[in-house]
Every structure is written in structure tokens, then in C-alpha cells.
Symmetry: C2
Subunit: 257 residues, 2 copies
């Protein structure tokens, strides 16, 4: 059964992992809502701490969407390439808008409360990641959706796009965890060490984020889960390398003798 599910790529086993990743993703969004709602008074756009609360919620929701935007290449691995590309770009635009709302929310909160901006490692990492994500999105659009780049240029850029896509995802997760730590040390400076419910809940949120990122990372980098090549669909495919890889065949190398 193990080798059967491996040889089918995203067969029975892979779908379970996708289902678990979605459960983790939804749990982390809900848990962020509960944390900000139950322990910090909920959400509003009025310059108060309630406006700050929008920031973690948007960043976690944006991360979930970003991960799913990468995952579409695995989930829709047997569909036509172009609609999947467009879905990938579209989900990432949505994720970018949600990140932007989260960033504007915290800058607005700082400005209303005379709190300096951009002094913490969290803010440095977070903003650099957001800028990197925007550049990555524009490059992806230019190279793969807009018919400008040559097949050679696309083939040159594809592995970089994939590497930086996974790197951005890791940096987003890291920025979220740094944000959780900052928030806990600001909110519970003397009681974080007492294992109070809020501290434990926020730590669990961090663990969920890590599990989501690790599982997504596994699903999108595992060789057998790669999109199978379709030479008829793309005669000038940027994936010509894949055509030569045994791993991309229905019977992957791991099931070879």
C-alpha cells in the first residue's frame, strides 16, 4: 500500500497529508482569532489595541493562503497548466492584499499611539519578507504569465522562483513566530513564565504554524508529488528537464528494484 500510494503521487496518502495541512491551517487562523478575541478584546479599526489585533490575524491568514497558493501545483497536478498558474497567482494576490491590510493596521496603531516603527527583528524580517514576496510575485508574473520571457529564460528562472517561493514561506513563518514571541513578552512580561492559558495558547499557535509550514514544505518539495509532465500541452515547456527524470514517471524510482 505504501509503495502504491507513492507511485500514484498525490494518491490516498498524499491527500491525507493535504487534508491534515488544511486542518492545521484552519486551526491556526481560528486560534489567532480566539487569542485576539478572547484575550485582547477583538477587532476594530480605530487606532486602539483592537486595531493592532487585526495584524496577527491577517498575517496568519495570509500565510495560510500563501501556502495554499503553492499547494495548488500539487493538488491540481493533473489539470491544465495555465489555469493552475493563474490560480497560483490569484491566491497569492489575495494573500498579498491580506498581508498589506495587516501591515497597514499595525503601522496605523503605532502612529496613533506614538510607538516607533521598524525597530524590532520581527519588523525587519517581516517587512523584508513582504517586499521579497511582492518582487517574487512580479517576477513570476513577468516570466510565466506574461508572454515575454523566452523558454530558455523561463527554464533558467524556474528553479530560482521555486527556491525563493519556499524561502519566502519559511521567512513568513519565522516572522509570525517572532511576532508571537514579541506579543507575549509585551502582554505578559511577568506572567509568561507561569504557564497561564494565554501563553500556552499562543505557544500552541506557534507550534501549529511550524507544523503547517513543515507539512506544506514536504508536500511541495517531495519528488513523487511533482506535477507529471504533459508534452502535448506545452511543446515549449519549461519543464523539459522533468521529461528525462524517471521520478516523474508513474512508477517513480523509489519503487524500482
Amino acid at each position: 500500500m505504501e509503495s502504491g500510494s507513492q507511485s500514484e503521487g498525490l494518491g490516498a496518502f498524499g491527500w491525507w497529508l493535504v487534508a491534515v495541512s488544511q486542518a492545521l491551517g484552519m486551526s491556526m487562523v481560528v486560534l489567532t482569532g480566539v487569542w485576539m478575541g478572547q484575550y485582547h478584546g477583538g477587532f476594530s479599526w480605530d487606532g486602539s489595541a483592537h486595531q493592532f489585533n487585526i495584524h496577527p490575524f491577517c498575517m496568519v491568514l495570509g500565510l495560510f493562503l500563501y501556502g495554499d497558493g503553492v499547494l495548488v501545483y500539487r493538488v491540481f497536478r493533473n489539470e491544465s497548466k495555465r489555469p493552475v498558474k493563474m490560480l497560483h497567482a490569484l491566491i497569492h494576490v489575495m494573500s498579498m492584499i491580506i498581508f498589506l491590510i495587516g501591515i497597514v493596521a499595525v503601522f496605523g496603531f503605532h502612529s496613533s499611539n506614538k510607538i516607533p516603527d521598524m525597530y524590532s527583528l520581527h519588523s525587519w524580517c517581516g517587512l523584508a519578507t513582504f517586499i521579497g514576496f511582492c518582487i517574487q510575485w512580479l517576477m513570476g508574473f513577468g516570466f510565466f504569465l506574461f508572454p515575454v520571457a523566452s523558454a530558455w529564460l523561463r527554464a533558467w528562472y524556474l528553479p530560482l522562483h521555486k527556491f525563493f517561493g519556499v524561502l519566502m514561506f519559511a521567512l513568513m513563518t519565522m516572522s509570525c513566530l517572532l511576532g508571537i514571541t514579541e506579543k507575549l513578552l509585551f502582554a505578559l512580561p511577568s506572567t509568561y513564565s507561569k504557564f497561564l492559558p494565554e501563553g500556552v495558547l499562543a505557544n500552541c499557535l506557534g507550534v501549529l504554524l511550524l507544523l503547517f509550514a513543515a507539512l506544506l514544505g514536504y508536500l511541495v518539495t517531495r519528488e513523487e508529488y511533482r506535477r507529471p509532465p504533459n508534452p502535448e500541452e506545452e511543446p515549449l515547456s519549461v519543464h523539459f528537464k522533468t521529461l528525462n527524470e524517471e521520478a516523474a514517471s508513474p512508477r517513480g524510482s523509489l519503487t524500482s528494484p
Copy 2:
């Protein structure tokens, strides 16, 4: 020149990246030493805050060594496989011992100062990563250095070992960044936001750690930098998949027409 350096794998271009990674690695170790030495009174094993200072220094040094332990497969990509494997295992044992000293140092400091253990997200991530690293090392030793596992079992485990190796590296980096944020918020609760030298220095340390991790991640996952297969060396090589990959040939697919 570009395609020439790509086709040579770790040719001129790759060596520059390796050199930059080592410069980043050494800078981050020195910067941690400066941070703990200049701003927190240096090191000693006496239960005081000076004992705590050993913790960040060891964790950053251990991370540098861990990264280099992975990099040996790229740097010595044309050497015999077995000595490289042993070097990989040996560097990781050294890294593990240094991590352990760092962990014992902080537990000892907590115990001497009646500070609770294991309440923060940093401690949860850090300890889970260390335990994961130990398990990963033992599995690697059992599968690849101790002649027990069959070729099939090795081939099954190899991609998992690689994935979890990179994941552990990402988690170690993340744990270090969480530690930097914690330390800054404990040490400078009201002045971190004033861009004082200590805060900026520690933020820069975080950025160096991220750059080191990103560059190492690139060097060890880039297809063209993979170790070329040597069928004579290992007739039952676990890398039989690689033999079928055009990318592993001296002229990689990216230089194809």
C-alpha cells in the same frame, strides 16, 4: 561564463557562494561573542548571567557547524563518498555537543536563579529541534554508516533524511531568532525601540543568521550543485535515481537548447 559555471556545478561561481557563506557564518559567531562580551559581561560557568551568555554563543556556533556539516556534500562533491559521509556525521556530532553545552548552560542558569524552564515558544522550538536533530543523526548513522539497512531501505530513507536535515536547519535558525528577540525584550524592555547600539547589533545578528541559512539552503538544494554519481564507487548506490537524471550530467539541462 554563467552557463560555464553552472555546468561545472561548484565551479568558480559556486565557490564564491561557499566563501560568502563562511564569511557570514564566522561573522555571526563573532557578533554573538561581541554581543555577549561587550554588552553582557562575557562568559563564565558560575550560575550567573555570564553562564547564560554561553547559551547564545554555543547555539550560533552549533548552527554554523551544522550548516557546514551539510555543506561538505557540496564542497567535497568529487571526493570518495564514505569519508565525506563520515565527515558529515563527525561535524554534526561536534555541533550536537556544542548545542548540548549551550542547553545545559541555560538550564543551569535557570536553576541557579529560580527561573522556570520550558515556558517560552523559543524553548519549545529549540528543544524540539535539538531532539529532532539527535533522532535524525541516529537514523542517518543507522541507515548510511552502519551496514544494516538494505539498498532499498536507504533509497527510501534518503529523501526523508535530506528533507528533515533542511527542516532542522530552518528550525534551528528560527529558534536562534526567537532567542535573540527574547533576550532583547528581557534586556532592553523599554529601550529596544530607541535604536540603541545593542538592539541594532542583535537585529543585525538575526539578519546574518537568515542570510547564512538562505545561502546554505540554496547551495544544498540547487540541482546543479549535487554530487555527481559515481557508479564504480557504489554499485549498490542509493543514488541510482540520479543516474537517470540529465541534471546530474556535466552538461545540466539548464544549458540544453
